[in-house]
Every structure is written in structure tokens, then in C-alpha cells.
């Protein structure tokens, strides 16, 4: 396929091109943007988004959605903090991390059960779950902050391994495993099949409910992983952690080419979109547009979704290859 066709037709390429263009343009205006230090910082900032976007891609490919990931991250951060902080429960870091991972998976599982067994729309399930998690989080925090995280935990967020931050390693591993799952396992192909034509999937004997349960549980687990490798970077855990995160992740997945109606979308697309969206805030800063410019970050996020949606609409209206005229 000629390059120009690729860029306009395959979303990953389009978004990737936009990513590179932005890097070039902003780097031209302000070379500090492309410094190793800044690039690394931006990459580290993107880690939680990338990790959760992998799970959420599977959920949306299946035709569902999960907007509770932000609130879940907040709660998991609190739980992790409370369990490991020397001034609180003071468990060993491994135990605290383990509980966090289990809890994340458990919440994801509950979401999945309500959607499959309860036959409820996932938007409602995860909307309600989001609130419940927010409430539980605030209850646990009791208006206080957690500021003393043990060094063992801080390693996850701030440490480096072979020159690259641990968190980036984690994201890399998650992405690789997700791509492997999507392209290289029967499970992955069945996920896409179930999203593409759920009735045909059922007729072919695929366990559509089981696949959805898997996707939701995985998303919960990945949210926990993202929490473990990103929250310890913060100097304080308070009730605002994770707020707005779900919107960012959904935006990445949708902009990255995953259709809300299911059946298509790639991990790579979501990852590239995450990197692109992660550029918005630094771009506003480095372009020296003034402090006020950073307030437009969320507006730009919203604009991205609308643009992605319009692009999908226009693409659909063009005659498809191979269709008989």
C-alpha cells in the first residue's frame, strides 16, 4: 500500500505521523523539547496511560467500555499507600503490592460480572462503580494525605534498571505482552472475533461472556500495575489521584483507531495515541505560550476524540475496496 494511503487509512500510521510532526515542529521552536531529559520525562509520564490503554483496548474491541479506571487507580493508590506506609499498617512492600494487584483484578472482575451476568450496559456499571470507588477511597483516606512511602515502593516509581526507569520497563513489558496476546494467541483472535460479530462468535462456540470477563479483569489488573509504577513518583497520595484518568485513556484508545462499535483496533494504535496525547501538555509549555496555555489541555483532548470520530465517519462513507459497484 502506498505510504500516503497507509497514513490516511490506517490509524496507527496517521497518529504516528502526527506524533513525529509534533515532535519536529515543537522541537524546532524550542530545542529543549527534544532533550533526552525531557523525552524521558514525557515517556515516564505516559507510562500509566499506556499500561491501562492496553487493557481498555480489549474492552472496547469487545464493544464495551470502562470508565472506572481513574477512580480505581485512586483507590488502589490509597490502599497501597496505607498498607506499606511505615506510619500506617506497615506491611512489607511485596505484600502491599500483591494486595493492590489482587484488588485491581477483583474490581475488574466485578465490573465484568455485572456486564455479563447482570446484562447491564457497561457504561452504567462502570459509571456507578466509579462513584463507589471514589467514595470508598475518600472514606479510607479520611481527608488525610499519605506522604511517607517506603523506599522499596519508591523504587517502582523512581528507580532505574539498566539506564531506563523501572516504570518504562513495566510499560514496555505490558505492551509487548498485550501485542502478543492480541496477535499471537487464539484468545486474542477470539476477542476480536467476539467484538466483530458477537452472534457469529456465539454460533462458532466462542465464550463471549468469558472473553468479556477476561477483558474487564485484565483492565483492573493493569490499572493496579499502572498504579504501582506511577503513584510512588508522587510526593503525596491524596483523594485527587487518578481523577480524569479514565477520560484520557478512553481518548487514547478511540483516537488510536479502536472503534466504539467493536471488532477493530490495535494495541499499537492506542500506545501511539497515548504518546501523542502525552505531548499536549508539554507542548503547551515548551511552546512558551504562557502559563494560561496549559489550561487548554483538556479541551484539546476532547477535540481529539471528536476529530477521531469525524475521521471514522468520513472513512466509512468512502466506498470500500472490493465492494461491487
Amino acid at each position: 500500500m502506498p505510504l500516503i494511503d497507509r497514513v490516511t487509512r490506517q490509524r496507527e500510521w496517521g497518529v504516528g505521523t502526527l506524533l513525529i510532526l509534533t515532535l519536529i515542529v515543537v522541537g524546532a521552536v524550542n530545542p529543549a523539547f527534544l532533550s533526552v531529559g525531557n523525552l524521558r520525562d514525557m515517556l515516564v509520564q505516559d507510562v500509566p496511560t499506556v499500561i491501562v490503554a492496553c487493557g481498555l483496548t480489549f474492552v472496547i474491541v469487545l464493544g464495551e467500555i470502562d470508565i472506572s479506571v481513574g477512580a480505581l487507580m485512586g483507590l488502589l493508590a490509597t490502599v497501597m499507600g496505607l498498607l506499606t506506609s511505615p506510619s500506617r499498617v506497615h506491611w512489607p512492600v511485596a505484600a502491599g503490592v500483591g494486595v493492590t494487584l489482587l484488588l485491581g483484578a477483583a474490581v475488574g472482575l466485578v465490573n465484568g460480572l455485572l456486564v455479563t451476568g447482570g446484562r447491564m450496559p457497561s457504561i452504567i456499571v462502570t459509571l456507578g462503580m466509579m462513584t463507589v470507588l471514589q467514595g470508598v477511597n475518600q472514606l479510607l483516606l479520611n481527608g488525610q494525605w499519605i506522604t511517607d512511602l517506603p523506599p522499596g515502593l519508591r523504587f517502582f516509581g523512581l528507580g532505574t534498571l539498566l539506564g531506563m526507569p523501572v516504570s518504562v520497563w513495566a510499560a514496555l513489558i505490558v505492551v509487548l505482552l498485550s501485542v502478543l496476546l492480541a496477535q499471537g494467541t487464539p484468545l486474542g483472535r477470539r476477542l476480536y472475533a467476539a467484538g466483530s460479530n458477537p452472534d457469529a462468535a456465539r454460533l462458532a462456540g466462542l465464550p463471549v461472556h468469558g472473553l468479556k470477563l477476561f477483558a474487564f479483569t485484565l483492565t483492573g489488573l493493569l490499572t493496579a500495575v499502572a498504579t504501582v509504577v506511577s503513584v510512588p513518583r508522587l510526593s503525596v497520595i491524596e483523594s485527587g489521584v487518578g481523577q480524569g484518568f479514565e477520560l484520557l485513556v478512553v481518548t487514547c484508545v478511540v483516537v488510536g483507531g479502536t472503534s466504539i462499535s467493536g471488532g477493530q483496533g490495535t494495541i499499537l494504535g492506542s500506545v501511539v495515541a497515548a504518546l501523542l496525547l502525552g505531548l499536549v501538555r508539554p507542548m503547551l509549555i515548551f511552546l512558551r505560550l504562557g502559563v494560561s496555555a496549559t489550561y487548554w489541555e483538556r479541551a484539546i483532548q476532547g477535540a481529539f476524540i471528536l476529530a477521531a470520530v469525524l475521521a471514522d465517519h468520513l472513512a466509512r462513507r468512502r466506498p470500500r475496496l472490493g465492494a461491487r459497484t
Binding site: 467514595g135 479541551a299 476524540i305 471528536l306 470520530v309 465517519h313
Partner: protein, 314 residues
């Protein structure tokens, strides 16, 4: 044939729940039920109630509007901006309402004419509108509104709070529209079977566009009430509002799948959420419990609806 004017099973259950909550509250703390306390606690419920009206109609058509909270913020910021620019209050208010209607209309265009799923559209505008509010206001509040304006949010007429009267007027208009014009049946038909509605010559796109525009307008009005009440306009108001509104509507018996529902249920739903929340705050001073209760209520009510009705999700 009138449209769900008579209470059905859901409304009766709600009413019983409401009475139950009030009785329990009365036992544990009689002061809660006093007129003074109720009046004080109710200052902010009118915005929620106002937004719940168009949301009921939207959900009736199997749609959804997640952007109402953000639209509120946008309108509030617009209002503050125009005020600071020196324009008289009525003009500012009018423009703020216009902004709300325009925001809703944008949603409407995407949902009704571009035919994108309302979930995605309003998720995008949820971000976009709040983002614009934040960007334009730089996160800083507007204040210093004249006391005359504050009357809108804090004053009362014949013992009833003005926002309450505004809501009642809106409720009356909506109820009359539903009861005496074909609107209710049209929306119900669209929610149950949009294809058949189109094949019957119904102006589906026009109706949907109108609903989302009305929702934006209501958000504008709610924003004005808020600003009048708190004397401040900031880009973070209305955060999480959409959840409360949707919960109230769904709790009130309007099916999230569309086709079935009514205003009476929504009103009861709003009351139930409000009284439960206020009582929890009053008795235990813990706002967090509110969140848990509301979230749990939403899930349980939809779960019950889903399990009890044999309808297949599309």
C-alpha cells in the same frame, strides 16, 4: 391514552423507599425533617432536578448526555466573562444560556445528523467543554456579582425558594408537553425502535437534536442558579453532576435501554437521592458515604431493571 401519567410499579417502590428513608431519618434525628432544615439542605438540589428533566427525555430515546456538568462549567465561565467585560447582568445571563444551547446543539448535530453514538460524543464534549472553560478562565473564579443577581439563587417568593419555583415551572412545562402533545409517545417510540419510528415518518433527527439542545440550555440555567447561589463562577463547577443526574433518572424508572420512563419517577428519584445524601451528611457528616450510596443505587436499580425485564440489549 396518556403518557405514563399514572404511577407504575417502579414509582410506587420509589415512593415507599423515600418514605422509608424519611421515617428512618425522623427516628434517628427528628430535626432533619423540620422545615427549616429541609429548606437549608435543599439549596442545591434544584440544579440537579433541572438537569434531570431533559436527561429523562434523552434516556427515553436510548441516548445519554455525559456533558451536562461540563456544559454547566462552560456557561458559568461565560457568564463571569461577560460580566467582567461590563455587560449588564440580563445580557450576561442571556448569553450564558445561549452558550449552553449552542453546546447542546453541537452534541445534537453529532448525535442526530452525523449519527455518532451519544456516549462517545458526550464523552468528548465532557472533556472539550470543561477544557474550554478551564482554558478561558485560567482556572480562576469570577465573583463580585451584584446582590440583585444573588436573589435568583438565594431568594424566595412566598416562602418558596426561587430556584425551586424555576424548577417547578420547567417541570410543569415538560409535564404538559409530555401529557398533552405527542412528544412523549414519539420519544418512547424512538427509544424502543428507532427504525420503525423513522419508517412511520417521525422527525427522529429533529427531535433528538432538540433534546440535546434543551439539555444544554438546562445546563446553562443550572449554571446561572449555581452562580447566583454561591456568588462565584469557576471552571470546576458541576464536576460529577452527570453521574447524579443519570442516577436520578435511571433510579426513577426510566430504562437506560430506552422506551420506558416518566417524569414522576425522575422527580422521585431526585428526591430519594437528595434526601438520602443529605441525611447521610447530616447524621454522619461523611460525604464519602454519599458517593458509595449513589453509585450502589445506580448499579442496583439498573441491575434490577435488567434482570426483571426480558428485553435484549441491542
Amino acid at each position: 391514552m396518556t403518557f405514563r401519567a399514572l404511577p407504575g410499579r417502579q414509582e410506587i417502590v420509589l415512593l415507599l423507599l423515600l418514605i422509608g428513608v424519611l421515617l428512618l431519618a425522623g427516628r434517628l434525628s427528628p430535626d432533619f425533617l423540620s422545615a427549616r432544615a429541609q429548606n437549608e439542605l435543599s439549596t442545591h438540589v434544584w440544579e440537579l432536578a433541572l438537569l434531570a428533566l431533559p436527561m429523562t427525555l434523552i434516556i427515553l430515546t436510548a441516548g445519554i448526555d455525559l456533558s451536562v456538568g461540563s456544559t454547566m462549567a462552560l456557561c458559568a465561565v461565560a457568564f463571569g466573562l461577560y460580566f467582567r467585560a461590563g455587560w449588564p447582568i440580563p445580557v450576561d445571563a442571556g448569553l450564558a444560556l445561549l452558550v449552553g444551547a449552542a453546546a447542546g446543539a453541537l452534541n445534537g448535530v453529532f448525535v442526530a445528523y452525523v449519527r455518532v453514538h451519544p456516549l462517545i460524543v458526550t464523552l468528548a464534549t465532557l472533556a472539550a467543554y470543561r477544557g474550554v472553560a478551564e482554558g478561558v478562565s485560567l482556572g480562576r473564579p469570577f465573583s463580585g456579582f451584584p446582590p440583585g443577581f444573588a436573589v435568583l439563587g438565594q431568594g424566595s417568593l412566598a416562602g418558596l425558594p426561587i430556584p425551586g419555583l424555576i424548577f417547578l415551572a420547567a417541570l410543569l412545562v415538560t409535564a404538559l408537553l409530555l401529557a398533552f402533545t405527542p412528544l412523549g409517545l414519539w420519544l418512547s417510540a424512538i427509544g424502543y425502535n428507532e427504525t420503525a419510528a423513522r419508517y412511520s415518518g417521525l422527525a427522529v433527527s429533529r427531535l433528538k437534536f432538540g433534546l440535546y439542545t434543551a439539555s444544554g440550555l438546562a445546563a446553562g440555567l443550572a449554571a446561572l442558579l449555581f452562580v447566583a447561589r454561591r456568588n462565584t463562577a469557576k471552571a470546576d463547577i458541576g464536576t460529577g453532576m452527570e453521574l447524579d443526574v443519570i442516577t436520578a433518572v435511571v433510579l426513577g424508572g426510566t430504562s437506560i435501554f430506552g422506551g420506558r420512563g416518566g417524569l414522576l419517577g425522575t422527580v422521585l428519584g431526585v428526591l430519594l437521592i437528595h434526601e438520602t445524601r443529605e441525611f447521610v451528611s447530616w447524621q454522619w457528616s461523611r460525604d464519602e458515604l454519599n458517593l458509595i450510596v449513589v453509585g450502589a443505587l445506580l448499579i442496583l436499580s439498573v441491575l434490577a431493571d435488567s434482570l426483571l425485564s426480558p428485553r435484549r440489549r441491542q
